[in-house]
Symmetry: C3
Subunit: 344 residues, 3 copies
C-alpha cells in the first residue's frame, strides 16, 4: 500500500476546469487524488466544494449527478448533499445521520483549486504554496497545462529536480547548457533548492526568442521544491556578460499530484516578466513546452515506470550520480515527513 | 471466490441467436455463465445442446469449431462430441472414455434458451420461470434486448427492484411518478414482489403514447423477482380515474445472468396487450428503452461497480433507505439459497 | 514463476530488423525474451550488441536512446554504455564500476540474430542450430515472418509437432493428408523427430503448385525439434509413385521464442530447392502461409491460452492421443533440461 503525505494541500485542478455556476451545463469534476475519489463542484456563491465521490446509499459516484446552487444530487436516486457532505434532501424518507459523505477543505487561489486530504484539525491555509507569480502574470502570458502521466509522481519530481535531462531529452528546445552548468543544492527546513548557473553558453532555442535572438547567454535556473511534489522553477537569461535583471525572469510551476501509485496529475504553469504582450512569443513557448512535456518527458517517464514495474525504487539500487543530489534529498525528506505523519 | 446459485435455470440467450441448423453458416454461440464457459449449438432436429466449451485434448474452445447435425467438431484437431458430451469420433485413434466434456441440460422455451449448471439429479423443468406473456405477444410487438454490462448482476437486480431510480436516471422517458408512488413489497416463499401505485400523476413520456397522449394517469407497476435474478415487471396506465384494465397491461422481462463476478448478461423483453399492431409505437418504445437502458442505466451501473471495486457490497455499509426494502429482501433470500445449496 | 532454459541461443529477431549502422536513423530494437528486457543495436563494425534494457541510473530503457558507432546513449541523462555493458561516458561525473548493465553474447547467423541468456562460461557457438538451408536459398525465395502471439511458447511448439491440426485448421491450404499419414516419432539425444508419410494422397492446395498442378502426390514431412523450441520442417511432394528427390524438398524454420509466460515471438522462414526463380510461386506461398499462420493458427492458439488461463497445462489433465506423442516427449525433455540446469 502506497503511503502519501496527507496534511498538505494538493492541487485538484485549474480554476477554469470548473466554470462559474451560472454556466454550469456540464458535469462536476471527478478527480482521484492519493487514491481517494473526489467530486468537485462550484456552488452559486462561486465557492468550490469537494466531497468523497461515492454516495453512501448505493455507491454511485456523485460526479455522475447534477450540481445545484448549494448541493449536489446523486444521479441514481436523487439524494442531495450539501457543501459539508451532509445529506440535505432524501426524496425517499427522513434524512438520517448516516447519510453523509466526507467533505474536504478546499481553497481556490492562484487560479487553482487546492484540497486537503488530512486531519481536519490541522487544516492550515498558511501551508498553501505562494504562487504569486501566477497572479502577477496577465492571463494571456500564462502557459497553463495539465498532463496526466502513467508514472509515479516521484519520478516526475526527479525529472524537474535534475534538469540535466533537458540536454538529452529536449535538445532542440530547452536543453544544452545544464550538464556543463555549475549546480548546487541545499535544504532549508523542508524546502530543497537546486541552482544551475552557466555563463556564456549557447542559449537553448526556447530561451533564444526571449533574448531577441542572441545565441550566447548567461543562464540561471533555480528550482525550489516543497512537499509533497510542488516545484517552482525560476529562470533568467541575459546576453552573455550582461547583468541578471529581475525583469528578465520567468517562473514556472511544476506540480505533481499523485492519482494512484503509478499515475500522476501533472499541472504546470509558465509565467514570465518580459514580453508580456507578445502573443506570438506566448504561442511559440506554448508549442515548445507542449512538445517537450507531452512528446518527450511523458513517454520517457512512462517507459521508466514500466521498467520499474511494481518494484520499490530503492530496492532496484539506482546508481546515484552527482546530479541526483537534490532528488535524493527530496525523496528522503518526503519519506521522513510521511513516516512522521504516520506516527502522530 | 464468488458463489452462484447452481440448481436453477439460467437464460443463455435468445432463441434466434442460434439460427435453425439448415442455415448454420456461422459459429456456435460461446457464452460464459457463472464463470463456466459453455458452447451452445443447434442440432439437425432443432434442439439446442450445451457443452463445456473446452476440448479435453488440448483445451481449445469447441465454440471455435464446426457444429454438425448431431455433434460439434473441435476446430483444432477434429475430435467430435455428441449432444451428451461424449466423444463420437476421434480421427486419431480409439474413442476413450476420458474424451468427454460436461454437457448441460437445456430447455428452449419462451423464445429463449435456458441452461442448468447444477446437479444433474435435481434438474427440474418445473422450475423454469413462466414467461407466457412473451409467447402471447406477437413477435413484432416484442422489444427484445441483450445488454452485456460490466457490473455484478446483483447491482442490476437492485436497479429493477428500486424503480425510484427512474425519476432521476430516466426523467425524460420512464420516470417521474415513482418516488411519490405508494410502494410496498412482500415475500411469498422465494418470490419477492414490489408494487408501485400512483394515482392521477403526470404520466412519463414513454407511457403517454400508450394513453393516446393523455398527460395525467393512474399508474400501477408490480415487479416480481425470483431467484437468482429474474424479474417480470407488470405495468398498467389508465387515464386518471379510469379503471385498471388487463388489456392495458404490459409485461417486461428483466433477466440478469451472471457472467463473472463483475460482468452480467442482461436480457430483456418488453411485451404488451395493447397497440399490438402499432409498428410506430413499437419503434418508439424500442428507442426509448434503448436510450434508458444503454445510455442511462448501463453507464451508472458500471460506474457504481467501479466505485465498489473488489469490496464486498455489505462491507461498504450501504445506508439502507425505505426504497431498498425489496432489494435487501432479495439479496438476503438469494444469499440464504446459495448457502443452503452449498450445505446440501 | 515460469522457468526457462537459459543456456541456449534464442533468436532475437531477423538481421534486417537492425539495418546497417550507416543508415541507422531509427531506434534500436527492444525485445523481451524470457521476461528479460534486452536492447539490440548494431555498431559501426556491423556487429550486434545486446544489453539489459534498463539504465542502472534511473531505470529508463536504453532502447529509448540513441545508438552510436560503438555504444548506446541513454536518452534520459546521456550515460553511454559500450558493447560490454560498461559505462564509457558519464557526462555528470566519474565513471564508477556500478555504472554497468549486463551484456549478452550475440551471434548473427542464418540471417538472424541470436542471444545467450545463460551462464557466461557456458557460451558455446557450437550450440547454434544449423539452418544452412536459409543461407542456401536465394533471398527472393525465402518467406520470412515474425508473428507475436499471445500464447505460451509450448503451445506453439505443440502446434508444429502435431501437424494433424492442418487437416482441421488449414483445410484449404496446408492440410488434408496428415490424419491419414503414417506418423512416427523418435528421440535422438535431445532432439525429437516426427515423420509423416502419405502415399498417393490428395495434395493440399499449397503444395499443388509445386507439383505443377498434379492433384495426387506422395507426401513426406519431417519435423525435427531441438530445445528450447526450434523446429525445422522438411517436406517433399512428388507426383504419386515418382521417387522422392532432394531437389523437390523444402525446409521451414518454426522458432518459438518465449517473451513472457503467455506471449511468444514466433519466427518462421520457409525455404525450398525448387522454383527458386518463380516469384509468382513465392508470392502465392507467402499469402498461403500468412493466411494459415495469422488467420488460423494465431487465433486458435490465443483462444487455447485463454481457456487455459493461469492453470498449469498438466494440472488440467489433457487427454493424450497418439498424435501427441512427439509433443509429450518434447515437453518432458525440455522440462528435464530446465530442471537439470536449475540444479547445476
Amino acid at each position: 500500500m502506497t503511503q502519501y503525505l496527507k496534511n498538505t494541500w494538493y492541487q485538484a485542478g485549474w480554476s477554469d476546469e470548473l466554470p462559474p455556476y451560472e454556466s454550469t451545463i456540464s458535469k462536476p469534476l471527478a478527480r482521484t487524488i492519493c487514491e481517494v475519489p473526489i467530486v468537485f463542484f462550484r456552488t452559486a456563491d462561486g465557492a468550490v466544494t469537494a466531497l468523497f465521490d461515492r454516495c453512501p446509499h448505493r455507491f454511485a459516484p456523485l460526479s455522475a449527478g447534477r450540481a445545484g446552487p448549494d448541493r449536489i444530487a446523486c444521479g441514481y436516486h436523487g439524494l442531495e448533499f450539501g457543501v459539508d457532505g451532509n445529506c440535505v434532501h432524501n426524496p425517499h424518507g427522513p434524512v438520517v445521520s448516516a447519510l453523509t459523505v466526507r467533505s474536504f477543505p478546499v481553497i481556490e487561489r492562484h487560479t487553482a483549486i487546492w484540497v486537503w486530504l488530512g486531519d481536519a484539525e490541522r487544516v492550515d491555509p498558511a501551508l498553501l504554496p505562494d504562487l504569486g507569480y501566477i497572479d502577477e502574470t496577465p492571463a494571456p502570458a500564462r502557459i497553463v497545462g495539465y498532463m496526466p502521466t502513467m508514472a509515479n509522481y516521484q519520478l516526475l519530481t526527479d525529472n524537474i529536480l535534475d534538469l540535466s535531462h533537458a540536454d538529452y531529452l529536449h535538445p532542440t528546445s530547452l536543453g544544452g547548457f545544464n550538464t556543463a552548468a555549475k549546480t548546487t543544492n541545499r535544504q532549508d527546513g523542508n524546502r530543497v533548492r537546486v541552482d544551475w548557473l552557466a555563463d556564456d553558453c549557447v542559449a537553448p532555442p526556447a530561451f533564444r526568442a526571449g533574448l531577441n535572438g542572441a545565441e550566447r547567454a548567461d543562464m540561471w535556473i533555480e528550482v525550489v521544491w516543497q512537499a509533497p511534489a510542488l516545484m517552482t522553477l525560476t529562470f533568467a537569461a541575459s546576453p552573455a556578460g550582461a547583468p541578471r535583471r529581475p525583469e528578465d525572469e520567468g517562473y514556472t510551476l511544476h506540480n505533481m499530484v499523485p492519482e494512484t501509485a503509478t499515475t500522476t496529475h501533472y499541472f504546470y504553469c509558465a509565467t514570465r516578466r518580459f514580453k508580456l504582450d507578445d502573443e506570438r512569443f506566448s504561442g511559440f513557448l506554448k508549442g515548445a513546452l507542449a512538445q517537450a512535456f507531452n512528446e518527450e518527458d511523458k513517454p520517457m517517464l512512462e517507459l521508466q515506470q514500466a521498467r520499474i514495474g511494481s518494484h520499490d525504487f530503492w530496492d532496484l539500487e539506482p546508481v546515484l550520480l552527482k546530479i541526483d543530489g537534490a532528488s535524493t534529498r527530496v525523496r528522503r525528506t518526503l519519506q521522513a515527513m510521511i513516516e512522521a505523519e504516520a506516527h502522530n
